[in-house]
């Protein structure tokens, strides 16, 4: 079974600084998707960034980028120029590329605090 582990329950970063959230996962599959979701307080989870395992190039979305290390099964999220609106719970997640497999498997989350 696949698992996702986030070892940092909470992190803090100064506004405008850069922060990296860690995530490791375990799978025997070769084709899959990895995600970072953001959940602001009392709001729904929204997708921040997605990485397809078959792509070697790391995904980027504006200030958000990932460091995908397939062999090490590591998938970290870097947030550059942190803003107050980035304060949220961040979930690392995995989904199999098998069409019959619907479920997303989540880590426990990292709560990110932005210090003004």
């Amino acid at each position: 079974a696949q698992t996702v582990t986030q070892s940092q329950p909470e992190m803090s970063v100064q506004e405008a600084e850069t922060v990296t959230l860690s995530c490791t996962y375990d799978t025997s599959e070769s084709d899959y998707y990895l995600f970072w979701y953001k959940q602001p307080p009392s709001r729904q989870m929204i997708l921040v960034i997605r990485q397809e395992a078959y792509k070697q190039q790391n995904a980027t979305e504006n200030r958000f980028s990932v460091n995908f290390q397939k062999a090490a099964k590591s998938f970290s999220l870097k947030i550059s120029d942190s803003q107050l609106g980035d304060a949220a719970m961040y979930f690392c997640a995995y989904r199999s590329a098998l069409t019959r497999d619907d479920k997303i498997i989540f880590g426990k989350g990292t709560r990110l605090h932005i210090l003004p």
Partner: protein, 115 residues
Amino acid sequence: EPEVTQTPSHQVTQMGQEVILRCVPISNHLYFYWYRQILGQKVEFLVSFYNNEISEKSEIFDDQFSVERPDGSNFTLKIRSTKLEDSAMYFCASSWGREGSYEQYFGPGTRLTVT
């Protein structure tokens, strides 16, 4: 931008009672999901639903759970006889397609408290 909505935001019920959690998925989406998060634990997949049938379900989704799309807009999760351990945040999600390349859009959740 279209959003998944869920009602109620908080539901309190007594052990043994039936509860129905409601979700309105994004209107042109075809695949629907329920997840739950027990306090302090991971978000866990419960069930997926397509074309009025369950596509996949987890071990958690036992006979006390059921899902239904009673009309063209709502997607419901029913828990027949609630237990204390059913207390959790329940998230509904929807997507246009089934493959992992299609984003699952999540609702804000319903906090269920069983007393």
